[in-house]
C-alpha cells in the first residue's frame, strides 16, 4: 500500500517529480487486481486509457509543463457519464456496449486538470436505487463488509474510493446517490448546489435534481476536485454563470461563531448509534465555539412523496429516448411500435420500469394536478422551509443515512423501505442546495456512519468549513 492515500498528496508529488503518475497508477491497478472480484466496483477498468493518460502526465512534468491540480490522480467515473469511445452503460442492458461519441464536460475538465481515469463504476440502473443492487451487471459490495451493500446509486464510485481502487471518484446525486453511499462506505461525498457542476454528458435521470459531485478520502480532496470541475458551462442551460468554486481557503477556518442548525422535527426512525454520532457532531462543534440553533422544517416529511413523484416523472420522459432506433439495444419485431415495446421491456430492469410507470402515470391526463402538479408545490414548501431555517442557521446537520450499510438483499423486495433510506438526503435535491457527507465514527457492526452538512444555495464555503472541522474531530476507526 502506498503512503500517498489522497488526491492532493498524489498531485503534489507528481507535479514536483518525486513520483511518477505511472507508478501511482500501477499501485492502484494492483489493488484493483487484488480485490475487485470481491467488491465489483467497476463495470469497466480502463487500464490502457489510464496508462496513456498517466504517461502523458509524466511527459508533461518531464517537459516542465504543469499537468494541473489533479496531476496523476487516479479517478473513477460513475458509468452514467459519457466518455468518448469508452462504453457508458448506466448499468443497463439497454445501453450495453454503447460508446458515446463525446465526452461529458466534467470528464473534459478533470482530464484537463491532469486526472487519470481508471474506470467506469457500477451503479443502480440509470441511478435509480439506494444500494447498487439494481444494476444489470451485478451488486457492488461494501469494502467494509462484503456481505453488505455499498449504498447507491453511486455505490461503485463510493466503494472504489473506500477500497483504494481510485484516489477519488465522481458520482451523481439525484436524491442522495452520492451522500448515502459515501456514508455507507466511510468516505467523503459532496452534492454541490444545482447548477454548479455541468450536467452536459451526464445521462439524465431527473434533470431538475441531478448534480455531479466527488467522492474522496478526505474533505480537502473534495474541495480540490470540486474546484476543478465546477464553473459555468455554456453547454448546460441550467449551469450557473459564475466561475469555479474556491473552497480550499475555507478548510482551516475556525467554526467559532457559526450557527449550526438542528432540525427539531427531523423525521425519526434512525439507528440509535446514528443518532448518537449526530449528537456528538453537534457537541464537537459547540465545543469549538459554534452555536447550535433549533430550526424547523415542517414540510421535510413530505419530501419523499414530492421526490418520488417529480423524479420518476422527469425520468419517464428522459428515458423515453431508449427506443432501439439510434443506439443501444433493439429487440426486433414486425413493426416499430412492437419493437419499442419489446426493446424497452427487455432493456430496462424492474426498478426502472416501476419508476417509468409511476412517472408516466403522474404526468398523464387526469392525474397531473393530483400528483406531479401537487409535488411541485410541495417542493416549493420545502424550499421555503429551508429559506426560513437558513435565516437562523449557517448550516444544518442531519445524519446522511438513517441506517448503516444493510445486508445485500435485505430490501430488494420492498421498494418503499429502500426509498426511506433517502429521507435525509432528498430535501436538499428538491431545494437545489449543496450538502455533503463526512465520515463520523461508526454505528452498528462497526460500520461507518456519515454526518450530513447542509447549506443554502452556493453555501459550499461554509459547508466545507464545517465539514473540515468535523473531519478533524471525528471519532477514529471509521477509515
Amino acid at each position: 500500500m502506498t503512503e500517498l492515500s489522497n488526491a492532493v498528496d498524489i498531485a503534489n508529488a507528481v507535479r514536483n517529480g518525486s513520483v511518477s503518475a505511472v507508478s501511482v497508477l500501477d499501485e492502484y491497478l494492483a489493488r484493483i487486481d487484488a480485490r475487485e472480484s470481491s467488491i465489483h466496483a467497476f463495470n469497466l477498468v480502463t487500464r490502457e486509457q489510464a496508462r496513456t493518460m498517466a504517461a502523458q502526465v509524466d511527459a508533461d512534468v518531464k517537459a516542465g509543463r504543469d499537468p494541473g491540480p489533479l496531476a496523476g490522480v487516479p479517478i473513477a467515473l460513475k458509468d452514467n457519464m459519457c466518455t468518448r469511445g469508452v462504453p457508458t452503460t448506466c448499468s443497463s442492458r439497454i445501453l450495453e456496449g454503447w460508446k458515446p461519441p463525446y465526452d461529458a464536460t466534467v470528464v473534459t475538465r478533470l482530464a484537463g486538470a491532469g486526472a487519470v481515469f481508471v474506470g467506469k463504476t457500477n451503479l443502480d440502473e440509470f441511478a435509480m436505487g439506494s444500494s447498487t443492487e439494481n444494476s444489470a451487471f451485478g451488486v457492488t459490495y461494501n469494502p467494509h463488509d462484503t456481505s453488505r451493500v455499498s449504498g447507491g446509486s453511486s455505490g461503485g464510485s463510493a466503494a472504489a474510493v473506500a477500497a483504494g481502487f481510485a484516489a477519488a471518484s465522481l458520482g451523481s446525486d439525484t436524491g442522495g446517490s452520492i451522500r448515502q453511499p459515501a456514508a455507507l462506505c466511510g468516505v467523503v461525498g459532496v452534492k454541490p448546489t444545482y447548477g454548479t457542476v455541468s450536467r452536459y454528458g451526464l445521462v439524465a435521470f431527473a434533470s431538475s435534481l441531478d448534480q455531479i459531485g466527488p467522492f474522496t478520502v478526505d474533505v480537502r480532496d473534495a474541495a480540490v476536485l470540486l474546484e476543478a470541475m465546477s464553473g459555468h458551462d455554456p453547454l448546460d442551460s441550467t449551469s450557473i454563470p459564475q466561475p469555479a468554486l474556491s473552497l480550499q481557503g475555507s478548510l482551516d477556518r475556525d467554526v467559532k461563531g457559526l450557527r449550526i442548525g438542528r432540525i427539531i422535527d427531523l423525521p425519526g426512525g434512525s439507528d440509535p448509534e446514528v443518532e448518537a454520532r449526530l449528537a456528538e457532531s453537534f457537541d464537537a462543534l459547540a465545543a469549538a465555539g459554534a452555536t447550535i440553533v433549533d430550526v424547523e422544517l415542517p414540510s421535510m416529511k413530505y419530501g419523499l412523496t414530492a421526490y418520488y413523484l417529480i423524479a420518476p416523472a422527469e425520468a419517464s420522459s428522459n428515458l423515453a429516448r431508449y427506443d432501439g432506433v439510434r443506439y443501444g439495444l433493439r429487440v426486433d419485431a414486425a413493426d416499430t411500435n412492437s419493437m419499442y415495446m419489446a426493446t424497452r421491456a427487455a432493456g430496462f430492469g424492474d426498478e426502472v420500469k416501476r419508476r417509468i410507470m409511476l412517472g408516466t402515470y403522474a404526468l398523464s391526463a387526469g392525474y397531473y394536478d393530483a400528483y406531479y402538479g401537487k409535488a411541485l408545490k410541495v417542493r416549493r414548501l420545502i424550499s421555503d422551509d429551508f429559506a426560513r431555517a437558513y435565516q437562523k442557521a449557517d448550516v444544518i446537520l442531519t445524519p446522511t443515512s438513517p441506517i448503516v450499510a444493510f445486508p445485500v438483499g435485505a430490501k430488494v423486495d420492498d421498494p418503499l423501505s429502500m426509498y426511506l433510506c433517502d429521507v435525509f438526503t432528498i430535501p436538499t435535491n428538491l431545494a437545489g442546495h449543496p450538502a455533503m457527507s463526512v465520515p463520523f465514527g461508526t454505528g452498528a457492526h462497526g460500520l461507518p456512519v456519515g454526518v450530513q452538512v447542509l447549506a443554502p444555495t452556493l453555501g459550499e464555503s461554509v459547508m466545507f468549513q464545517v465539514a473540515a472541522h468535523l473531519e478533524r474531530v471525528a471519532p477514529g476507526g471509521a477509515k
Binding site: 439524465a204 434533470s207 442551460s237 420522459s317 423515453a320 416499430t336 419499442y340 408516466t360 398523464s364 391526463a365
Partner: protein, 473 residues
C-alpha cells in the same frame, strides 16, 4: 358560403426559420444535404445531451410575432412526449401554455383581419422515408429509413383564429403570410420544400348556428392545394350533414392525386402528450429593449408597401398590378422610376407587364425606363411604340429611349399622326387587313405601300411594319 353553409376555417402554419444552426444545438440547419450529415448529440437525443436555445431563432420568432401584431411576452418551454422514430428524444420541445407571441392579426389585402392566437417556437422532427409497398406510403411499407438532418430545426407555429370564411381567403392568408415571412427574413417559406407547412381546421355551419365539428386537414403542399382541400372538405362535411350524418372530429390527410381528404386518425386515438415544463431549459423573457430593437429593425411589410405604391400610382392597393409588383418586390423600383420624372401609374403598368422575369432589382436602370415613359406620356411614342422601345431597352439591359426610337424611325413623324394614318389605311383596305390578319404576309406590302403613299414618304417603313405587326397582335 357553399350551399347555404358558412365555412369556418383556422390555419396552423409551421415555418422553418432561416437560422444557420438548429434550435437547441450547433449543427447546421440546411435543406437538401446528404442524410445524417447535420447531427450532434442533441439532435440525435444521445444520452447526456442538453439543449441550449439559439438566440437568432428567438429573434426570428420575435420578428414574426411583431410583424403579425402580436404581443411578445416572457415564456417557457415544455416537453410534448410521444414516441415516433423521427422524434429522437421521444419528446418534442415546444411551447405550451405560455408561448412567445400571442394575440395578433394578419390583414388580408382587401382589409379583412384574421386573428393570430399565438406564434410559438418548437423543434422540427427528422424525416422518414418509407421503403417498399406502394408509392412511398407509410401503409404497406416494408421498413422505413430515418434522416435526422431536419430534427431540431427551429420552427415557429403560427396558430390563426378561425376567422377565415372562404377557400380564397385561406389562400390569401397563406400568400400574405409567406410574403411577410420572406420580407422580414425569418424564413424562405417554401411550401414545396416543406419550409412552410399548412394545416387547416375546417368546419361548416348554417348561418347563426353554433360552430360545427371540425376536421384538421394535413399534407397540403401548395397554396392552390389549400384552396382545393378546404373546398373539398367543406363539401364533404355539408354532404354528411345533408345526408343526416354527423361530422366526426378527426385528422384528415389531403391526397393531391385524387383531390380528396382521407381519415388519418380519429380523436379517440388522441395521444396523451404528458406536457411538462422542460427542466433542461430556463424561461425566456425578452427584455423590452430587445423587443423594441427587433421592432425598429423590421422592414416595411407587404401591406405597407402596397399602400405606399397605391398612393403613389393611384392604383388600388388590392388590385392586380399593385399586388403583383409588390409580391415581386419591384415596388421600390417603380417608385424610383417615378422619382426620376416618370408618371408613376405608367411605370407600374410597364413593370407589371414587362418585368415578370426580373427580380426585385431589375437590370434596366430606373432612369432609362423613366425617359421612355416621359417620351410616351409626352406623345412622342405611342403606347405600342413604347412597348417596342422598352423591349429593346430590356434586351440590352438599358438604353436611351430617344435613340432607340430614332433608330426605329419612331421620330420621323409625329407618332400619333402616323398611327391615325395607319388606322385610316386599315379601314380603307379592309380586305388586305383581313388577309394580313389571317397570316398572309404578302398582304402587308399593300398596306405599307398605301401608308407610305398617304404620308408622302414621311413615315418610316420599319415603324409602319412594326405598327402593323403590333396592331395585329
Amino acid at each position: 358560403m357553399i350551399d347555404g353553409y358558412e365555412l369556418v376555417v383556422g390555419l396552423e402554419v409551421h415555418v422553418e426559420l432561416a437560422t444557420a444552426t438548429k434550435l437547441f444545438s450547433a449543427s447546421a440547419n440546411r435543406f437538401g444535404d446528404d442524410p445524417n450529415t447535420h447531427i450532434d448529440p442533441v439532435t440525435l437525443g444521445l444520452p447526456g445531451a442538453l439543449p441550449v436555445l439559439n438566440r437568432q431563432a428567438v429573434e426570428f420568432a420575435m420578428r414574426i410575432g411583431l410583424a403579425l401584431n402580436c404581443t411578445v411576452q416572457a415564456c417557457t418551454f415544455h416537453r410534448k412526449n410521444y414516441f415516433y422514430p423521427d422524434m429522437p428524444k421521444a419528446y418534442q420541445i415546444s411551447q405550451y401554455d405560455v408561448p412567445l407571441n400571442v394575440d395578433g392579426w394578419l390583414e388580408l389585402p382587401g382589409g379583412k383581419r384574421i386573428g393570430i392566437e399565438r406564434a410559438h417556437l418548437e423543434e422540427d422532427t427528422g424525416k422518414s422515408t418509407h421503403i417498399g409497398g406502394t408509392g412511398g406510403r407509410i401503409h404497406g411499407s416494408d421498413y422505413s429509413l430515418i434522416d435526422f438532418n431536419r430534427a431540431g430545426v427551429p420552427l415557429v407555429e403560427i396558430v390563426g383564429r378561425p376567422d377565415i370564411a372562404t377557400p380564397d381567403e385561406a389562400k390569401q392568408y397563406v400568400t400574405e403570410l409567406r410574403q411577410i415571412l420572406v420580407a422580414i427574413g425569418a424564413s424562405d417559406a417554401k411550401m414545396e420544400e416543406g419550409s412552410m407547412r399548412c394545416d387547416a381546421n375546417v368546419s361548416v355551419r348554417k348561418p347563426g348556428a353554433p360552430l360545427g365539428t371540425r376536421c384538421e386537414i394535413k399534407n397540403v403542399n401548395s397554396v392552390r392545394s389549400l384552396g382545393r382541400a378546404i373546398e373539398y372538405e367543406a363539401r364533404r362535411q355539408i354532404a354528411l350533414i345533408e345526408g343526416g350524418e354527423k361530422v366526426r372530429q378527426e385528422t384528415r390527410h389531403w391526397d393531391e392525386t385524387d383531390g380528396r381528404t382521407h381519415t388519418l386518425r380519429t380523436k379517440e386515438d388522441a395521444d396523451d402528450y404528458r406536457y411538462f415544463l422542460e427542466p433542461d431549459l430556463v424561461p425566456l423573457a425578452p427584455e423590452a429593449v430587445w423587443i423594441d430593437a427587433v421592432r425598429a429593425a423590421l422592414p416595411m411589410l407587404p401591406r405597407e408597401r402596397r399602400a405606399r405604391l397605391s398612393s403613389a400610382t393611384g392604383a388600388p392597393a388590392d388590385g392586380e398590378a399593385v399586388m403583383v409588383v409588390v409580391e415581386r418586390g419591384q415596388d421600390d423600383y417603380v417608385l424610383a422610376v417615378a422619382s426620376a420624372g416618370a408618371d408613376a401609374s405608367r411605370a407600374l403598368v410597364h413593370v407589371k407587364e414587362a418585368y415578370a422575369e426580373q427580380g426585385a432589382v431589375p437590370s434596366v436602370p430606373a432612369a432609362d425606363l423613366a425617359r421612355m415613359i416621359v417620351l410616351e406620356t409626352s406623345g412622342k411614342l405611342t403606347s405600342t411604340q413604347a412597348k417596342i422601345v422598352l423591349a429593346e431597352i430590356m434586351a440590352n439591359g438599358g438604353g436611351d429611349a430617344e435613340k432607340i426610337a430614332a433608330a426605329k424611325g419612331f421620330e420621323a413623324m409625329d407618332t400619333s399622326a402616323l398611327e391615325a394614318m395607319v388606322d385610316e389605311v386599315i379601314a380603307a383596305q379592309a380586305d388586305a387587313w383581313a388577309k394580313y390578319c389571317a397570316g398572309e404576309e404578302k398582304a402587308m406590302g399593300a398596306l405599307v405601300g398605301a401608308i407610305m403613299k398617304a404620308s408622302k414618304g414621311k413615315a418610316d417603313g420599319k415603324a409602319v411594319t412594326a405598327l402593323l405587326q403590333s396592331k395585329r397582335g
